[in-house]
């Protein structure tokens, strides 16, 4: 139940934004630029949220850079593609709104903030579907390098990624290929850039947007966690927040924008809403479903609650960030030649090279007889050919084998060490090696989609993502259930206004980013669709709230 209006507000504003990720920062900027007095509450001591630790890609069909380069795209093509992917879990109107607004939003950000982008070579996540784009006509934009010294002392407030801090652009990373040819990366130059305060990836999105807020003198109140909405006559007029161990009341005469992420770090909410566990989320441990609770408190209708942005992870035991075990995302490792993923029976169960959100789905498959997740625990298995050529997490080719990788001289011994079916593993590897020789994976179509090749090794003939496992030593690393964030929450109008169970907007309440019922349904359109949709609905909510 929402809180009643207090006698006196501790802080007051017109538009109150909760959270400083890709949804919150554009919401604040647009509310300001449309004439409102804006305040932002950020739970942590750092600005940027999950967005700051992300790859920073933004999925923008029909964008201005494509036009400049003569790449043809249309809303209609993108619509056909997105509808096919979202599988009816998102409304056509919401998808259409996203596609209408995303090019305009990016153009606005480029024109009115220091953020800059380039076109990448990343294909849509199902380039084989109608309306999709291939890598040479990519819809994914990547941020350019940004000098954080522009922020002055506020630079210290930036959230920094524990894993994606190497300041290189998408195009540089494509050129140097740190995942295939790490020896080609100019590491000294990377060190220099870091030392000089240059950022990229997610930092290339959040740092310039934070600067845009500072330039506009938007007040960002750190270490302040909103916990409930304040309502009067069915209208949201502020929030209660925790600050320095005290509850404070913050009034917002035009609206409150929930941009404070999903619930991937809240055990109870995950158990209640998700069809399977997320044991090792890859976002920082900051999003605990506060937006969802505030939405429920205000009587919001909920949508897409069983979905999340799936992403397999792995850990290096003892490696910590923010005082807890760090969960590292697994992306290129599983896509490289000489690596497969198997279940306890030693069997493959997934196209290892498929896009992360989709390849996650079989990890939650339940065995109808045992009622257990039949593919868990899952293991990445690779051989010495892989170890000699490619990095696996932090284990670099040619360097010593770290303690956290299980290793054995034979597949049988490896299976025994990780407690999986040895005969099953041996048979699987023999079969897979045959597929490699035929250059065709009839079981899981690995390598058939152009996307599968993106994270592989294009020097590997004949296929960038297929290679035998035949040279001892053999290695194993457990694949864990990660997530980039959840994507269910309050349902919204096309302008980001939260609606109630009868479809009526709740005056004064908005949601954007992972805090809202996502436009993507259960799918992932392409690299940057998460940040893209977060930015679009933050942008729209900011404009709408300012105009109240």
């Amino acid at each position: 139940m929402a809180i009643k209006k207090p006698g006196k507000w501790d802080l007051e504003t017109e538009v109150l934004v909760l959270g400083t990720g890709c949804a919150g920062l554009p919401a604040a900027i647009l509310a300001h630029d449309n004439g409102a007095k804006v305040m932002v509450l950020e739970r942590t001591a750092k600005v940027g949220g999950t967005t700051a630790v992300s790859g920073g890609g933004v999925w923008v069909p029909n964008n201005h850079l494509m036009k400049e380069k003569g790449i043809k795209d249309s809303k209609e093509a993108a619509m056909t593609y997105c509808k096919r992917l979202s599988g009816g879990k998102s409304s056509d109107e919401l998808i259409e709104k996203y596609l209408d607004v995303v090019p305009e939003m990016i153009q606005y950000m480029v024109d009115n903030t220091p953020i800059k982008f380039e076109i990448t070579e990343l294909s849509d996540y199902h380039p084989e579907f109608e309306g999709a784009h291939q890598g040479n006509e990519s819809r994914t934009l990547g941020p350019l390098l940004y000098d954080t010294n522009e922020l002055g002392d506020a630079k210290e407030n930036l959230r920094v990624s524990p894993t994606m801090s190497m300041p290189m652009t998408f195009s540089e990373s494509r050129q140097w290929k740190p995942t295939c040819t790490p020896e080609k990366v100019p590491w000294e130059k990377m060190g220099e850039r870091l030392a000089n305060g240059i950022t990229c990836w997610g930092g290339g999105v959040t740092a310039p947007l934070y600067k845009a807020c500072l330039d506009r003198k938007i007040e960002i109140v750190l270490n302040t966690r909103a916990i409930d909405v304040v309502m009067e006559d069915g209208k949201v007029i502020g929030v209660v927040a925790q600050q320095d161990g005290k509850d404070i009341c913050v009034g917002a005469s035009k609206g409150v924008i929930l941009a404070c992420g999903g619930f991937e770090w809240n055990e109870e909410l995950k158990t209640d809403f998700l069809p399977g566990p997320i044991t090792h989320p890859c976002s920082p441990p900051i999003n605990e479903g506060d937006a969802l609770k505030m939405g429920m408190s205000a009587g919001a209708a909920l949508g897409n609650m069983s979905e999340q942005w799936g992403w397999i992870s792995a850990i290096i035991p003892g490696e910590e960030s923010e005082g807890i075990q760090l969960n590292r995302g697994i992306i290129y490792e599983r896509s490289m030649p000489h690596c497969i993923i198997v279940n306890p029976k030693g069997k493959r169960f997934v196209n290892e090279s498929a896009a992360y959100n989709d390849m996650f789905k079989p990890f939650w498959e339940v065995d109808e007889n045992t009622l257990k997740f039949k593919n868990l625990p899952a293991w990445a298995i690779f051989d010495q050919q892989y170890k000699d050529k490619y990095p696996f997490l932090t284990a670099m080719p040619g360097e010593d084998v770290p303690e956290w990788l299980v290793q054995a001289d034979s597949l049988e011994e490896l299976a025994e060490k990780i407690n999986i079916d040895a005969a099953g593993l041996k048979e699987t590897v023999e079969k897979f090696n045959g597929y490699v020789k035929d250059n065709k994976d009839p079981d899981f179509a690995r390598g058939d989609s152009e996307y599968d090749l993106y994270w592989g090794d294009d020097r590997n003939e004949p296929c960038a993502c297929l290679g035998t496992l035949e040279k001892p030593v053999f290695y194993a690393c457990e694949m864990l259930l990660g997530s980039l964030g959840t994507k269910g929450g309050p349902k919204t109008t096309l302008d980001g206004q939260v609606i109630d169970a009868h479809g009526k907007p709740i005056t004064g309440l908005y949601a954007a980013g992972n805090a809202m019922a996502s436009v993507a349904g259960g799918s992932y359109f392409g690299g940057g669709a998460t940040i893209g949709s977060g930015m679009v609905f933050g942008y729209l909510a900011g404009i709408h709230a300012a105009k109240q």
Binding site: V160, S161, S165, P182, E188, G191, G318, E320, S321, D400
Partner: protein, 149 residues
């Protein structure tokens, strides 16, 4: 290569200062991130430390070899060699009598991350070393002064 040197004046005569510094067990827990150490012989030991690299923290095992233990000059020199991480380095402890009641303690430490991404790790490591050296030296100073009453 990230290097740090930290000096402080301990309000105690040389004898108790050197007596304290020369027994590793006495000050080892003052090293930030110290978890344990195991002596292999009188020159070599293996240290387990939890160290910060940027916003990441890792458990690092290092072999420490004393290369020079000079009771006369009140000077200890040691080398570091990473066991589970590619890193090398070394350091010195020097105690110098300033007066009957004051001793200067100098602690010098250098670490060089190796491997392909060493240049990047070194950038992150650099700013972390100074506070580590300072905290350790200040804790040693405080403990000796406390023992002196």
């Amino acid at each position: 290569m990230p290097v740090v040197e930290y000096k402080c004046i301990v309000k105690a005569p040389m004898e108790p200062v050197w007596g304290f510094v020369s027994v590793i067990e006495k000050w080892a827990p003052f090293l930030k991130g110290y978890e344990e150490h195991e002596e292999l012989n009188d020159k070599e030991s293996v240290w387990t430390l939890k160290g910060d690299v940027g916003v990441l923290s890792r458990t690092v095992k290092m072999k420490v070899t004393i290369t020079n233990w000079d009771d006369e000059a009140k000077r200890v020199e040691f080398e570091l060699d990473g066991i589970n991480e590619k890193a090398t380095g070394g350091g010195t402890f020097i105690a110098t009598s300033e007066s009957d009641s004051e001793t200067e303690l100098i602690f010098k430490l250098e670490i060089n991350a190796g491997g392909m991404i060493g240049p990047v790790v070194n950038v992150l490591l650099g700013p972390m070393l100074k506070p580590v050296a300072k905290e350790m030296a200040e804790k040693i100073k405080a403990r000796i002064e406390e023992l002196q009453g």
